[in-house]
């Protein structure tokens, strides 16, 4: 059998060692995802890339592709599941889009638009979480953290550092900084680190660049999260591809 698999009936090729997500990204097929970023070790925690293979629920970002595999992706039932998962992520944290400087550039928010989410639906948790503004160039606002661990992995795998980790258990899980004080300001994180910019939500934000790119002109104000060719942009004007 040749190295192809089927996503919603569409046959696409894959290379040995690739996951379902790898193959679909290359083929330009969108499987929703939040905790996945090509180039970093797949994590499989957000479960937005949940697909069904022979009726079995799996994470597209971690399951190796196999020849002849039949994957259900864009089905009404799975879209409903993903919408519910996005709602769950919203009510778990303290996400106040209108006052968040990440608005319009936030993947969580974009996923909410993508799935036609109109409300958080579930009773909000209103957790008490700490904000860390000790770093001169960056702020860590845990209210918005979705525990995707992109920053954890980017710091270890791309920056060659080990700035972040997840601590605690269950609903108390939270991001911590690998310093004795626990403060970001005491870490070796710098503004040019991948970990400083990879946050898909507004939990790690650069200071002093809050509104350089005006609301309404940001990535997801102009593009759908499902568009595969949209380069990631930060909040700094110089990097914005639409300017």
């Amino acid at each position: 059998m040749s190295n192809t698999l089927f996503i919603d009936g569409q046959e696409i090729p894959f290379a040995p060692g690739q996951t379902i997500m790898d193959a679909s990204l290359e083929a330009g097929i969108y499987i929703p995802h939040l905790c996945h970023k090509p180039g970093l070790t797949p994590h499989g925690s957000c479960k937005l890339c949940t697909v069904e293979v022979d009726g079995r629920s799996v994470s597209a970002c971690t399951l190796p592709a196999a020849a002849g595999m039949k994957v259900d992706n864009n089905t009404p039932a799975l879209q409903e599941v993903r919408k519910t998962l996005v709602q769950m992520l919203f009510v778990e944290g303290n996400h106040l889009c209108p006052t968040c400087s990440k608005t319009g550039d936030c993947t969580l928010q974009a996923l909410g638009y993508h799935f036609g989410m109109l409300d958080g639906h579930f009773p909000p948790f209103y957790p008490r979480r700490e904000v860390d503004a000790s770093h001169p160039d960056l702020v860590l606002d845990r209210d918005r953290c979705v525990l995707c661990e992109l920053c954890v992995r980017a710091s270890r795998e791309q920056d060659g550092k080990n700035v972040f980790a997840i601590s605690g258990r269950g609903a108390s899980a939270h991001i911590i900084v690998n310093t004795s004080s626990g403060k970001l300001g005491d870490s070796d994180l710098t503004l040019d680190d991948a970990a400083a910019h990879i946050c898909p939500v507004g939990a790690i934000l650069p200071k002093n660049h809050g509104c350089e790119v005006p609301f309404g002109r940001r990535t997801f104000d102009l593009h759908s999260v499902a568009e595969s060719d949209v380069a990631h942009v930060g909040l700094q004007k110089t990097e914005h591809h639409d300017e």
């Binding site: 499989g44 599941v81 601590s167 605690g168 269950g170 609903a171 911590i176």
Partner: protein, 584 residues
């Protein structure tokens, strides 16, 4: 061997992070902040790893607990939360808040595995059983007079085996080394063939063929291979491993050595749940006796190159570590978060090396198979479930305890054996298993029908099943590791829905939404914890729908916000409880 565990092969590795944190916790009654960075440096771990482990495991605390830290099980079988409230009253403490003089703290903990002899509590990690209300004034006095635990009545700590019915394994009298002698005489290939012939399947509940697991591991090429005995028996209602580790420990360790012989492992770990800490001295003594008898150590039974020894690693209050890949993470001194699979532990386990993780009971069965052969074992049980099963029976019956029967015994027969005929419902396999009503009591306990790790919890007609299911749902929310969205967010949400319904504020809409969310959590979670967390509430809905219906409000909608509850704090602070302080 990692550097950190190499000191004294086979000894309880003092340098394991969990053990160091246990030491700090018992010395300082919490983990002092100033100890953390030096410990990280000494163990050559990132400080964030030490911090994250402290906050993951229930038995480590950030602020001081009392000199007597008393944890009441909140299990439906060995729990005693009414006793907890009474003791709080006697000692003048609030649950979870250390008394001002630092003498005592009282709190809840998940099932401590004493379901046949509750109410059970842990006092400074030591297990106290069969606690009754009559004892509480005496206990309070011992606390107030700061009487050391060694001077408390010894019978309070006397854990009994309560073996009510012994079968194939528990009745069989083997001498130390019988299994190993048979194995080295037959050779590793023949031993594996016998295990295969026996059709032995994992006793933790999943039922994976043991021979296949050993074969995969043996076939994986790598510098090291490991055997891990999963003694993190955390499923509420399960306590059979406690008895096996107490009275059959020699066989458990011998089973590990047999596995090591087949897969060519030199080192093994017994990962023991923190709640069974009291077993450590006797387990260490058994290991020492085995070393003396050349059943562990170098050139075991004079077989050149058969080198194998075992270390005990003590958990610290985390149900999720019973999941095998989470257990391996915990062994590696990390938070117990289940790994992404594939790869599986048989090829990428402890420290990335091929590892067999087997249940305590599976390893005991392996020893008997080594002695008597696969055919002997297979002659018992059913075609798909060979051999016997050791059941932990608890709840509303006259004789809770250990029952060993061949696979295939019906629930009804087991109920009659233990005096539980008045049951309205039985929870098979603990909260993660299946709730059945009378109509299903004819079903068989076997992998092909009702698969179970052995927990059988019996509920009489007097029990409020909604309270039982609510207890289980709280348990899962408390024990979720927090890795994946469906479980981390879903289990607390399910808890909210059940609390709302149980308090009489739920509507039909809430019940439907709970069921919808429950199915999502069950289907989409990363590991077995999330995949089973909604079972109790969904089973109750399917089999006892009236239990919900009786509690529902007959209106379209009722908000989660409850004005009366929200005003409670204000009333307390203002010392007002008059009519005007009650707006609703």
């Amino acid at each position: 061997m990692p550097k950190s565990l190499s000191s004294g092969a086979g000894q309880q590795p003092h340098d394991h992070l969990l053990h160091r944190l246990h030491d700090l916790q018992s010395r300082f009654l919490h983990i002092p902040p100033l100890e953390i960075a030096p410990l990280a440096t000494e163990l050559d771990l990132p400080v964030s790893q030490v911090e994250s482990v402290i906050d993951f495991y229930s038995f480590f605390h950030r602020s001081p607990r009392g000199r007597f830290d008393i944890l009441f099980s909140n299990c439906t079988s060995c729990g005693g939360l009414t006793l907890m409230q009474q003791l709080c009253g006697l000692l003048g403490v609030q649950p979870g808040v250390t008394r001002a003089d630092g003498m005592v703290s009282i709190d809840q903990t998940s099932c401590v595995g004493m379901c046949d002899q509750g109410a059970a509590v842990l006092v400074n990690g030591r297990t106290l059983v069969r606690l009754t209300a009559a004892q509480l004034p005496h206990l309070a006095q011992l606390v107030n007079t700061a009487t050391p635990l060694d001077e408390w009545p010894a019978d309070w700590f006397a854990v009994q085996d309560n073996i009510r019915h012994a079968g194939l394994l528990l009745n069989d009298t083997l001498s130390a080394g019988d299994g190993l002698r048979a194995a080295v005489q037959a050779g590793a290939d023949q031993l594996l063939a016998e295990i295969r012939q026996a059709s032995l399947r994992g006793r933790g509940g999943a039922g994976f063929p043991t021979a296949m697991k050993w074969q995969f591991c043996r076939d994986a090429t790598a510098p090291e291979h490991y055997v891990v005995c999963n003694a993190d028996e955390g499923e509420p209602g399960t306590f059979k491993d406690r008895v096996l580790l107490h009275s059959y420990a020699q066989q458990v360790f011998e089973g590990m050595a047999l596995c090591a012989y087949v897969i060519k492992a030199q080192h093994g770990f017994l990962y023991l749940r923190g709640e069974y800490r009291y077993l450590v001295p006797s387990l260490e003594a058994t290991l020492d006796a085995m070393r003396t008898a050349n059943l562990l150590g170098e050139n075991i039974l004079n077989q050149p190159g058969f080198n194998f020894d075992i270390s005990i690693v003590l958990g610290a209050g985390a149900y999720i570590c019973g999941e095998e890949s989470a257990l391996l993470e915990s062994l590696e001194q990390k938070r117990g978060v289940p790994r992404v699979r594939p790869p599986f532990p048989v090829t990428h386990g402890y420290l990335g090396q091929p590892t067999v993780v087997d249940n305590v009971e599976t390893l005991v069965a392996a020893v008997h198979i080594a002695v008597h052969g696969g055919e002997w074992f297979r002659a018992h049980g059913t075609a798909q479930s060979a051999g016997s099963k050791v059941f932990s029976v608890s709840g509303d019956c006259t004789a809770p305890g250990i029952y060993e029967y061949p696979f295939g015994i019906s629930v009804q027969d087991l109920l009659e054996a233990c005096g539980g005929q008045d049951a309205q419902a039985v929870q098979i396999g603990g909260p993660s298993g299946t709730l059945i009503g009378r109509a299903e009591f004819g079903r068989k306990l076997a992998f092909e029908d009702l698969a179970t790790g052995g927990s059988i919890m019996i509920y009489s007609a007097q029990r409020d099943l909604l309270a039982v299911v609510r207890n289980f749902t709280h348990f899962f929310a408390h024990e979720s590791c927090g890795f994946c969205t469906p479980c981390r967010v879903g289990t607390p949400l399910l808890r909210k829905y059940l609390d709302k319904i149980a308090s009489g504020h739920g509507t039909v809409y809430d019940r439907e939404e709970m069921a919808r969310l429950g199915k999502l959590v069950k289907r989409r979670s990363h590991c077995g914890l999330g995949q089973t967390a909604a079972n109790p509430l969904l089973d109750l809905l399917a089999k006892f729908p009236q239990v919900y219906a009786e509690r529902l409000l007959h209106q379209d909608y009722e908000p989660f916000f409850n004005l009366d509850a929200a005003l409670t704090t204000t009333r307390e602070l203002t010392h007002r409880d008059d009519a005007e302080a009650h707006l609703s």
